[in-house]
Amino acid sequence: MNVLEFSAVVFAGSLAAGFLGALTGFGGGVVIVPLLTLGLGVDIRYAIGASLVSVIATSSGAAAAYVKEGFSNIRIGMFLELATTIGTLLGAALAGVISGGAIAVIFGLFLVYSAWLSGRPRRERAAGEKADPMAAALKLDGHYPGPAGWVDYHVRAVPTGFSLMLVAGTLSGLLGIGSGAVKVLAMDLAMGLPFKVSTTTSNFMIGVTAAASAGLYLNRGYIDPGLAMPVVLGVLLGASAGARRLAGAKSRTLRLVFASVILVLGAQMIYKGVTGQL
């Protein structure tokens, strides 16, 4: 396979990953690294570098649409970015000292966890009635446009949410993903944010977190232009096509199929990581 054919294959795979990632809400990043490492034998560090840049592209590209809807809470996003960017430095430092095989195993575990998480129904918690003093001091409470006027919400469990974001940042720096799954979990389950707010705020945060990781990876020489080029262009095109089709309801079947694919990829990453093939 020469460079032209290789780039075409990577582009097609990234296009599909971006499209399905946007449609199902998993994001494209989670399948790019397995695709490149398991499918094409790319070293995991190059794969992580390329994946990171594509994560930034989709997050920034979608920001304009999200902002207009008025759901994202910039204060929550910024406050939690403190945790994710610090986590990122931790994760990227970790990536420099542990082996590729170990990274593959952690990646595999994260994929299995993401697939499991997506199988569970996402239940909206009743919004906190009274204000959490910490959330009030940080002015995290907000409101969003509902069908019948503005809906107010209060934020709970600020320290728990902050700690989970440290983990999300570390994973992002270590694995080159947006780790939106962990971010949404922290905001939904721990902090009790409404879905619309947590999803859009997470999109905002993913780009910032990934940028912190990407800077470090660039300095370390993990970002190869020849490899990142087809990945970024493919994911970007795929994701914008997916987002346009998203207008309706997400297909549950499609989500289930994609979750199964992620589960299989995760198992393979763990196996190959443990046996030293990655």
Binding site: V3, V53, D141, G215
Partner: protein, 129 residues
């Protein structure tokens, strides 16, 4: 003092930032695409080798080197410059958010956002390791 009605710093600033980001992504993608076409045209028949990690040459690892390479229209340098623009988009966004909080005179969040901006700049510029 509960921040009601102010969960987004300023609607217009945010819409402006969103549009700016999309323009940035489009510009970056165009640069990556142009560099990519040139790269494929000249290297297309070579055999790619990403199996063994070697790391990029030092000029593709820092801003000054990338800008120099892109300015002399090196193919890989152009792509890398486009990727650099992409990495810069969220950083620009955080920079504008600092401004939005300054306009609101919200000292706590000016400080928080400045720290985040500092970490981002450190990771891109300062972490020469």
């Amino acid at each position: 003092m509960d921040g009601q009605g102010e969960s987004t710093p300023d609607e217009r600033v945010e819409v402006f930032i969103g549009t700016l980001l999309r323009a940035g992504v489009t510009l970056a993608a165009a640069v990556v695409f142009l560099g990519g076409v040139a790269y494929l045209a000249s290297h297309g028949t070579q055999i790619p080798d990403y199996r063994i990690f070697r790391g990029e040459p030092s000029d593709l690892r820092n801003i000054a080197g990338i800008v120099t390479d892109a300015a002399r229209l090196s193919r890989r340098g152009l792509i890398q410059f486009g990727l650099l623009l992409l990495i810069a988009t969220p950083i620009v966004r955080v920079g504008f958010t600092v401004l939005a909080f300054i306009l609101q005179k919200d000292k706590t969040y000016v400080l928080i956002t400045l720290i985040v901006l500092g970490i981002l700049l450190y990771s891109l510029v300062g972490a020469g390791w």
